[in-house]
Subunit: 348 residues, 2 copies
Amino acid sequence: MSSIVIESGVLARIGAHVPRAHAYAVITDSNVAGLYGRRVAGSLGNAELFEFAAGEANKSRETWMTLTDALLERGYGRDCCIVAVGGGVTCDLAGFVAATYLRGVPIVQVPTSLLAMIDAALGGKTGVDVAAGKNLVGAFHQPHCVVIDAGVLATLPAAELSNGLAEAIKHGAIADEEYLAWITDHADGVFERRTDMLEHLVQRSIAIKTQFVRDDEREAAQRAALNFGHTIGHALERLSGYAIQHGHAVALGMMMEAEIGTALGVTAAGTVQHIHRAVRAARLPHRIVFDDTGPTIAATRSDKKARGGAVRYVLLEKPGRVARSERGEWTWQVADDVVREALKQFSV
Amino acid sequence: MSSIVIESGVLARIGAHVPRAHAYAVITDSNVAGLYGRRVAGSLGNAELFEFAAGEANKSRETWMTLTDALLERGYGRDCCIVAVGGGVTCDLAGFVAATYLRGVPIVQVPTSLLAMIDAALGGKTGVDVAAGKNLVGAFHQPHCVVIDAGVLATLPAAELSNGLAEAIKHGAIADEEYLAWITDHADGVFERRTDMLEHLVQRSIAIKTQFVRDDEREAAQRAALNFGHTIGHALERLSGYAIQHGHAVALGMMMEAEIGTALGVTAAGTVQHIHRAVRAARLPHRIVFDDTGPTIAATRSDKKARGGAVRYVLLEKPGRVARSERGEWTWQVADDVVREALKQFSV
């Protein structure tokens, strides 16, 4: 695992946390360039800024090609270091550039959104989206270091805090019932951007995520638990053409997947309600309109966890604990009918 | 390291050497599809053939995208296995597809050219070419298994045998003086496709390559020795728009880089002549026309071994042994003037 630095004001002192390199390529998007990208590049010697247009639609193989060619054009060699400054899109995209540039160069992740701090920047998953689905092309490439300045969350829009909170709720749901309750009780403080609460949130979520990743970087076993809420979540996101935001989709996905577990007798009664309360507190949606659940179920089939053509779900035993199958597996095969019923439970 | 199976007639029994998978995607080019691709696909259960147009020009990000999208379209999941059947282009390209498809799926390499058997299929380097140079985009991804049927070399054109022999000469030059002499003495037998000689060639070259890769998969140290002849070789290839074949470029590159070492007093007298004799025996070119050596020197700068903007060369101590620098490094920085003189030595 990479080292993780959580330190207020660290962006101005980032030189202390990057590896020695002949040159630094700071990759950032058009929203973050002016806020933090130029500042980070300015605080590093021999650094250039590589900017791409903000938005999930640009987390594509085309943007990856453009960034790669720009680095080649500027003569970056294997002794360079890439520094990603931005949200989840930037972390994933710049990570895939680093994973494949000259067969791999070091990267330092500098996440500037809550979602990226507690999720995308950690664990070495990199990738881009394709028409068939999100993150279907990518590689595992651990960052040299993840540098987090929770102070930047002071300027993050409330909607982005909600997006991050969805992943924090997931961390509570799969690993820590107390943390799940803490989020429910303290979400208002997070929206008021109380420093102590933001820092607790970042630290606790990172601790849980790294615990699942540490011994399973390539997701052969327990790392799969981090996909709770994401099998349905990704399908909803994709079907909406990414009009539904990631955190919103995951919030709905978590409730629906908790409902699936309840219907199968795997998940304890009351679990859905626990998650529901947290989702409400995080100002995330808890209902969705379905004309027909068929397309959503079809969309889950391109999930990367699918095996033998069958979709696999992470199910909870209760809040704070993932259910393991009789064979000890971290994911479960679920019949379409059960999924359909769960989708309907949360539709209007 | 992956397991390597060298067995006459093994293509018909390939099922014994692939990992269990839900489905197999056999990737091959338009030249090899009819010769071996369909035969391999036919001998595996639940396999489909994915064919691309033959030629180095198609070892591109565009072909990689097309193959990836075709696999997604056909619903291949993480429980699939890719089987690459073909020469170096297919091994590198299909390897990069496998490295990045759903963040990595297993691959079995089935090289059908001498060059691919003793080089591209081994060691886990995957990649594609871009305008700025060869293999500048890629990833390390070790194959599950490499399956070699030296019998297929009976149908390989003589020019392709020459291409493969260039890498075999390199193996002798960096690791085994006796092997270098053996190639010089037995090249005619190889061109007559004498089974015993082809098998010795494949086995000895694989043994040397794997010895250099084993403890240094990511080329931090001794694996760099395998780049002997390639710094100049890649530059010649690229400047010619790939009209000069890889083996031809490497043959010229080896002689020129041996000459560089001689000029610097690093390489023993007579080394250039040893390599020259082997190159002649392998029916490879030993002279090239330069109008101006400047573009070749400029083209070496995009070499992946470049550090701090300076090009690094692998130099020999004598035939069969690589010279280490005083600091123990496997590559040397060389002044442009020395490179220019070496290029001129082999120009007409």
